[in-house]
């Protein structure tokens, strides 16, 4: 289908975009790369009266590192993240994850800000933000707000962003030299939205997890930081400890049924992912032998 009619305004600055938003509020939608907004508009899931194009705002584009913090502008495209030496060095989880975000033609236009503000529960980047303890920076009529990733995602396509605010940047702590990561997702076709996925960031010391952050996605109405990680930190991971973590994971997930999978299948796949993640990060392949029945 085609998008219904709307008015179009090209923002000349962040201030200008905020003025346009202040006038129109929830009748307006921000257009950055358009790779989530345009499908939703073409399918008539949303029909904004005004589209505010922020694509020309160079001030929102780019990747920087300062005082141990990686700062990514909202308009930074997926392809820019994929090719960035700063991201590869300081947030390698993100480099891995981006390769699973859609396809080259979409990565050439899609932006990190757009993906996070859209908040599809099956998309990769929101879960990465949880695993990496990101801070989402938004600007509105009242000034700037800094929102922790965990508080930012509030439901299917829902975030803590108000209709008069604009997501301007993301901050991530630079990954320490001792940290490691794991990313994997199950999808019907490479680049499709996941059936279930896991973005994990860890610190492993002397064969034990000193820290473990498990960002699961496509397992509920929003990405989730699994409490099951608590069962695995600062302990020697035995098959029994792993199995306890797996049952806690199955309990805390609230997967949805859709055309791709039943809740039971999603729970099963999430357990498979956690098992593979733990075995890979601890370099103990035997943990992945028959742990999930």
């Amino acid at each position: 289908m085609k998008a219904s009619a709307f008015a179009y305004a090209r923002a000349t600055s962040v201030e200008n975009a905020l003025e346009l938003l202040a006038d129109q509020g929830d009748l307006a939608k921000i257009l950055s790369g358009g790779q989530s907004l345009m499908p939703a508009m073409n399918l008539r899931l949303i029909s904004p009266e005004l589209v505010i194009d922020i694509g020309g705002l160079a001030e929102l584009r780019g990747i920087g590192v300062k005082d141990g913090i990686l700062i990514i502008g909202a308009l930074t495209r997926h392809v820019d993240l994929l090719k960035s030496p700063e991201i590869a060095a300081h947030a390698p989880l993100l480099s891995d994850a981006i390769a699973h975000v859609a396809h080259p033609a979409i990565r050439n236009r899609g932006t990190i800000g757009g993906s996070l503000a859209h908040a599809d529960p099956a998309s990769e980047l929101p879960a990465c933000m949880l695993a990496l303890a990101a801070t989402i920076i938004v600007r509105g009529p009242g000034g700037e707000r800094r929102i922790g990733a965990k508080e930012f995602f509030t439901g299917i396509y829902e975030t803590a962003l108000s209709p008069r605010e604009l997501l301007v940047a993301v901050e991530l702590p630079v990954a320490s030299a001792s940290s490691s990561h794991f990313f994997h997702e199950f999808a019907r076709r490479h680049g499709d939205y996941a059936i279930v996925g896991l973005a994990a960031q860890a610190v492993v010391k002397d064969g034990r997890f000193a820290d473990l952050r498990l960002g699961f996605f496509a397992i509920g109405d929003r990405p989730m930081l699994a409490d099951a990680a608590g069962k695995l930190v600062d302990v020697t991971v035995t098959p029994a400890a792993l199995s306890e973590a797996l049952s806690l994971l199955a309990d805390e997930l609230d997967p949805q049924e859709d055309h791709q999978a039943t809740p039971a299948m999603r729970r099963h796949l999430a357990k498979v992912l956690l098992t593979r993640c733990v075995a890979a990060l601890l370099s103990r392949p035997e943990l992945d032998a028959g742990a999930v029945a």
Binding site: A3, Y8, L31, L43, V51, A102, A105, H190
Partner: protein, 161 residues
């Protein structure tokens, strides 16, 4: 503000100055306003890849971009790549290996394949499959398409000095 908006862009090397409604996507603009019907429209929500064109040298989904967003941009369509001879060898390889049947996906498949070969001169079959993963073909089963791209890459590598 739902009124037409004037845009100036370059399409296959020719300047176009016109005005369009904001809701018009780039694929429909190319097909209906410029009669460049090699860019196909399948799913209209970014899944099938049939509308792939080049914008400022990079491939994009023309159904997920508004014509007004193409203001000031340089667009290349399958007609441009075909007429310039840039992909003549790739097109010949598609013919030789039966890498098309109905032809609906072919223009975009060629755009995506040429995009890969520009970035990675001799990709392996896995890399070819990954780069073409955003383009659906319902006839061939992809095997022949991968063959054609692989053969073109090898032939170009042999010709390279």
């Amino acid at each position: 503000m739902t009124a037409p908006i004037s845009i100036s862009l370059d399409v296959n090397g020719e300047r176009v100055d016109t005005s369009v409604l904001p809701r018009l996507n780039l694929a429909d603009f190319l097909r209906e306003h410029l009669k460049l019907t090699g860019t196909h429209v399948g799913c209209e929500h970014g899944v099938c890849g049939a509308c792939t064109v080049r914008v400022n040298g990079e491939i994009v989904r023309a159904c997920l971009m508004l014509a007004v967003q193409a203001d000031d941009a340089s667009i290349e369509t399958i007609e441009g790549l075909s007429d310039s001879g840039e992909i003549a060898d790739l097109q010949a390889a598609f013919r030789d290996r039966n890498a098309l049947q109905c032809g609906f996906c072919t223009p975009a498949m060629l755009m995506a394949a040429q995009d890969l070969l520009k970035q990675n001169a001799v990709p392996d079959r896995e890399e070819i499959r990954e780069h073409l993963s955003g383009n659906y073909c319902r006839c061939t089963g992809y095997q022949a398409i991968v063959d054609a791209v692989e053969a073109t890459a090898r032939a170009r590598a042999r010709r390279a000095p």
